[in-house]
C-alpha cells in the first residue's frame, strides 16, 4: 500500500489486489523517520483511476461478448495488467496519531509518502492501543476478523447513548446485551419496554430460568404495578393532568387547591378527590374538566386507592441496586396509559435520585417518541444526567430523536440505514463525521453496527453484535417461516 493523497483528515491509499482491506478496517501508517504512526479508518474502497482503464475495459467487453479469441502472451504480462485493473483506492479518515503505543490526538503531521509502511492493524492490537474494554468489560460482539470487542460499562456511565437502525437490523438485541452487561457489573437499570421484548431476559433460550431470574423485575402497568395518588405526589399527578390529559391551566389551579386541601385533611385518593370535587364551590366547567380526567385515570387501573395493591418504586429499586433491571411493560396498554406510566416513572426516579435513595440508574428507552413528552428530551440531556439518570435511546426512526440529543450523545451505535431522510437525521451526530457515518452505515450488514463515542474512545468501530443466550422476543413474527 502507498499513500496517494492527504487532504485535511482525509487520506487516500493505493492498495494492491493481494492486500485485503474492507470498509471500516483500520490502517496504521508507520512513518519510520519520525517513529510515529497515523491511525486511519477506511470509509470507502474504490477502484483506482488508472490511465487507459476505460479503453481497456471497453476492449475487454468486445472480447467477452462479440469477438472470441486467444492470447499468446509468452511472458504472461497480463498478470501484471490484471493487477493494475484491480488496484483499489482506499478512502480513509485519520482518527488519531500513535506514539510509543499510546494515542496522541495531534494529527497535524504528514507521514512520508515513500518510506511509510502501511498495514492493516489487527482489531486486537487496535483495542489494546485504544485501551477499551479493560474496566468492567461488556462483550458486545466481534469484528469481521473474529476479535471480540469489549466496551467498558464505565463508558456508558454518566452519559447519553443512542442505538438506532432499521427494523430488524439488531438494535434491540444490542440494547439487551448492554442491559445484561450493566446488570453483570452491578448497575441498576430501568427499561421502558414498548414492545414487550425484555420480559423474558430472565429465561434461557430453552425457556428455563437463568442467572438473571432474581435481577429482572417485570412491572405490568395496571397489573402488578399500581400506585396511589398520594404516592405519586402532586407534582407528578399534576404533570400527568397537564401534559398527558391536557387539563387547562385554570382547572389545574383548582386541582392543586383541592389536592392541598385534601392533604391537610388527611388522605388524597381518587375517591376522596371526587367527593371533594363535588362539594367544592367551583365553576361547573372546571369541575367537569377535573372529574372527567379523574375518571380517565381511574379507568386505566394504574392508580388505585388500595394501598395493599400499590407498588413502591423504592422497594423494587432496592432489589436492583446491586445489579438488576425494572422492566416497565408498556406493550399491553393504550398510548395514553403508556405516557402516564412513563410520566410517573420518570417523576418518581427524579425524586428518588434527588433524595439519594437511588445513586444512579440507566434508563433504556425504546421508541421514546411514543411516550416521552417534548419537554423531557431536554431534561434528559441536561438536568437528569446530573441527577444520575443515564439514558440509552433505542429507535428505528432516527428523525424522532431531537437534534440536541444527537449533538450531546456520548456514545452511538448505528445499524444499517439506507434512506437519505434517516441519514440526514443522523448527520447531527457530533461524535462522527458525516462522510464516515454515511459511507459505513449504508453498507452495514444485518447485526453489524458502527460504534463510536466514549465506548470506543471516539474511534469508530464496526462490530457484529453477538448472539444472546437468553430468550428474546424482539424478532419479527413471520407467517411463512
Amino acid at each position: 500500500m502507498k499513500i496517494f493523497k492527504k487532504e485535511n483528515d482525509n487520506v487516500q491509499v493505493l492498495c494492491f489486489p493481494d492486500e485485503t482491506v474492507e470498509k471500516g478496517d483500520y490502517l496504521l501508517i508507520e512513518d519510520c523517520q519520525s517513529d510515529r504512526s497515523l491511525l486511519v479508518q477506511v470509509i470507502d474502497v474504490q477502484f483506482a483511476n488508472i490511465p487507459g482503464m476505460m479503453e481497456d475495459l471497453l476492449r475487454d467487453q468486445i472480447g467477452d461478448s462479440e469477438v472470441f479469441g486467444e492470447d499468446y502472451d509468452t511472458l504472461n504480462m497480463n498478470s501484471q495488467i490484471n493487477i493494475l485493473r484491480d488496484i483499489r483506492l482506499l478512502i480513509g479518515k485519520i482518527r488519531c496519531s500513535i506514539k510509543n503505543n499510546s494515542i496522541d490526538m495531534n494529527v497535524s503531521w504528514l507521514p512520508s509518502r515513500m518510506s511509510s509502511a502501511i498495514h492493516r492493524i489487527k482489531p486486537d492490537k487496535l483495542f489494546q492501543i485504544l485501551g477499551i474494554g479493560k474496566l468492567q468489560p461488556i462483550n458486545i460482539g466481534e469484528t469481521d476478523s473474529g476479535s471480540d470487542l469489549f466496551i467498558d460499562a464505565e463508558a456508558l456511565d454518566g452519559g447519553l447513548s443512542i442505538i438506532t437502525g432499521m427494523k430488524g437490523s439488531g438494535k434491540s438485541h444490542l440494547s439487551k446485551l448492554l442491559l445484561l452487561g450493566l446488570i453483570d457489573h452491578g448497575a441498576p437499570s430501568i427499561v421502558l419496554d414498548v414492545n414487550g421484548e425484555y420480559s423474558n431476559l430472565c429465561l434461557s433460550r430453552e425457556g428455563k430460568p437463568n442467572r438473571y431470574e432474581e435481577k429482572i423485575i417485570l412491572l405490568k402497568v395496571g397489573g402488578n404495578f399500581k400506585v396511589t395518588l398520594e404516592y405519586a405526589g402532586l407534582r407528578t399527578v399534576s404533570n400527568i393532568m397537564s401534559h398527558n390529559l391536557e387539563l387547562p391551566e385554570t382547572s389545574l389551579r383548582e386541582f392543586h387547591r383541592i389536592w392541598k386541601d385534601l392533604e391537610r385533611r388527611g388522605r388524597v385518593s381518587l375517591k376522596t378527590f371526587k367527593v371533594a370535587l363535588q362539594t367544592s364551590n367551583i365553576n361547573e366547567h372546571v369541575r367537569e374538566a377535573i372529574l372527567s380526567r379523574l375518571n380517565t385515570l381511574a379507568s386505566f387501573n394504574f392508580f388505585t386507592d388500595d394501598e395493599r395493591e400499590m407498588l413502591r418504586i423504592e422497594d423494587v429499586s432496592n432489589r436492583i441496586s446491586k445489579g438488576g433491571a425494572l422492566i416497565l411493560g408498556l406493550n399491553e396498554v393504550s398510548p395514553t396509559q403508556r405516557r402516564i406510566a412513563v410520566e410517573f416513572m420518570l417523576g418518581k426516579l427524579v425524586e428518588l435520585l434527588r433524595s439519594w435513595q437511588l445513586k444512579a440508574v440507566f434508563l433504556f428507552a425504546e421508541e421514546a417518541h411514543l411516550y416521552l413528552r417534548e419537554t423531557y428530551w431536554e431534561d434528559i440531556v441536561t438536568r437528569m444526567r446530573h441527577l444520575g439518570l443515564f439514558t440509552i435511546f433505542v429507535t428505528n426512526q432516527p428523525d424522532t430523536i431531537e437534534d440536541s440529543i444527537y449533538r450531546q450523545a456520548d456514545s452511538i451505535f448505528l445499524f444499517n440505514f439506507k434512506s437519505e431522510h434517516d441519514l440526514n437525521a443522523l448527520s447531527k451526530v457530533a461524535r462522527i463525521d458525516n462522510e464516515t457515518m454515511r459511507s459505513i452505515t449504508q453498507s452495514l450488514r444485518p447485526h453489524y453496527c458502527l460504534t463510536v463515542g466514549h465506548v470506543t474512545k471516539e474511534v469508530p468501530l464496526v462490530v457484529k453484535v453477538k448472539p444472546l443466550d437468553v430468550l428474546t422476543m424482539g424478532e419479527t413474527r413471520r407467517f411463512f417461516t
Binding site: 481497456d56 468486445i62 486467444e70
Partner: protein, 356 residues
C-alpha cells in the same frame, strides 16, 4: 502460452488451431535484449503528462509516405470503378501490429510489440493475439535494423520485422481468403525487413493459397499539390475505387510498389483511404476482390471491421504500458527512475506540453 479469453465459450466458439506459430526467435531476442539491462535503471514513459520529447505518435509503416498525385486525373471515368458487393462470400482476415515505446535507458529505449490476426467466419469474429514482446533497443542490437538514426526509425524497423513475420505466416495459413494488411504494399529497397523480399514472398505464398492481399493505409495523405485528394470522391454517392497508382509523384516512385494503388471509398458516407491490392492479381481481379470484400465483410466508415478489430486488440492502452513497466521491474529487476523533463526543469509550470 494460449490464454482463452472466454473459457465458458470454449467449446462453442473454438478459435481453431494457432494461425501463427509464435515467433519464438522474437521471444528469444526479446529475452536476450532485456537480460542485458537486468537490474539497471530506466525512465518510464510518463503517461499522464505527455512531454514534447515523449509524445507518442503512431509509428508509420515502411513506404507509407504521402501519396502526392501529379494532378487531378483527366481520364476520370476510366479510372473510377463503381462497386457492387459480391454475393460470393469469402473469409476475410485482418492483421495489425503495434509497437510502443515503454521507457528510456541510459543506452537506448525499451519498446513493446504486439500483433493481432482477426477474421470472420460464419458465426463470429475471431482473433489471435501475439505478445506483448519487449525489446531493449540500443546501439548494439539495433544493427539488425540497418543504419537507423532515430528512435522512431528503430521503432518502425522492429515493428516491420515483427509484422512481416505475422503477415507471412497468415499468408501461408489461410486459403481462398482476402487478407487485409495495415499500411501499403510498397517497400524501401534498403529496409532490412524487406531485404530478403519478405513482403514479396508473403504475397507469393498468399497467391499460391488462393488468397488476395489488400492493404489499407490510415496514415497516407493523398494530395494533389497541397490539396487533400481523398476529397475527390466525397461527392460521389456510391462505393467506388479510383485507380491512382500511375499518377504518383517522383518521390513515390522511388519505392518498390507491389500493389495497385487506389483511393477507396467503400461506404457511401465513410472516409476514403489509400488501398493497395497485390499487383500480380491484375486490375480487374483486384476490383472483383474489393467487391468480394464488400460482400463478405462489414465496412464501417469505409474501413473493414476485421482490420479495425485487429488494431483495437493490438494497441497498447496506457494501463497496459504501466503493467509492462511493472513487469520489467518485477521480472528483470529494472529500477524505475524518475524521468528527467528538460522542459519542466527549465520552464517549470510553463514547460507543459499543451500542443504549443
Amino acid at each position: 502460452m494460449a490464454v482463452l479469453n472466454n473459457p465458458s465459450e470454449a467449446v462453442a466458439v473454438e478459435t481453431g488451431p494457432e494461425v501463427v506459430s509464435f515467433p519464438t526467435h522474437f521471444a528469444d531476442l526479446s529475452h536476450k535484449s532485456l537480460q542485458d539491462i537486468a537490474g539497471k535503471g530506466f525512465e518510464p514513459l510518463e503517461l499522464t503528462v505527455p512531454d514534447v520529447d515523449e509524445f507518442e505518435q503512431p509509428t508509420p509503416q515502411m513506404g507509407d509516405v504521402d501519396l502526392r498525385l501529379e494532378g487531378v486525373p483527366r481520364d476520370w471515368e476510366g479510372r473510377l470503378f463503381k462497386l457492387e458487393p459480391s454475393s460470393n462470400r469469402v473469409k476475410v482476415v485482418g492483421i495489425d501490429t503495434t509497437c510502443r515505446r515503454i521507457g528510456r535507458t541510459r543506452s537506448g529505449f525499451l519498446c513493446a510489440l504486439r500483433g493481432t490476426v482477426a477474421w470472420r467466419d460464419d458465426y463470429a469474429y475471431r482473433y489471435q493475439r501475439y505478445g506483448p514482446l519487449l525489446f531493449h533497443m540500443n546501439g548494439r542490437n539495433s544493427g539488425l535494423l540497418g543504419n537507423r538514426q532515430t528512435d522512431s526509425a528503430l521503432l518502425m524497423g522492429v515493428e516491420a520485422l515483427f509484422e512481416r513475420e505475422i503477415q507471412s505466416q497468415v499468408c501461408h495459413h489461410f486459403k481462398d481468403s482476402i487478407i487485409l494488411l495495415d499500411g501499403c504494399l510498397a517497400t524501401h529497397g534498403s529496409d532490412p525487413a524487406e531485404k530478403a523480399g519478405r513482403l514479396e514472398a508473403a504475397l507469393s505464398a498468399a497467391r499460391s493459397n488462393g488468397n488476395s492481399v489488400l492493404a489499407f493505409s490510415k496514415h497516407t495523405r493523398i494530395c494533389v499539390g497541397e490539396r487533400d485528394a481523398s476529397t475527390l470522391l466525397d461527392n460521389w454517392p456510391h462505393h467506388c475505387i479510383l485507380y491512382v497508382g500511375d499518377l504518383a509523384s517522383e518521390q513515390f516512385k522511388t519505392l518498390k510498389l507491389l500493389g495497385h494503388t487506389f483511393i477507396a471509398k467503400l461506404s457511401p458516407t465513410g472516409y476514403s483511404f489509400r488501398m493497395d491490392i497485390d499487383k500480380e492479381l491484375g486490375l480487374l481481379t483486384a476490383v472483383a476482390t474489393v467487391q468480394k470484400l464488400m460482400g463478405s465483410e462489414v465496412i464501417v466508415q469505409g474501413y473493414p471491421e476485421v482490420l479495425r478489430l485487429a488494431h483495437i486488440f493490438s494497441i497498447f492502452t496506457a494501463m497496459e504500458v504501466l503493467g509492462i513497466q511493472r513487469f520489467l521491474a518485477a521480472h528483470y529487476g529494472l529500477r524505475i527512475e524518475r524521468p528527467r523533463h528538460t522542459r519542466r526543469l527549465l520552464f517549470g509550470p510553463f514547460g507543459k506540453w499543451d500542443g504549443a
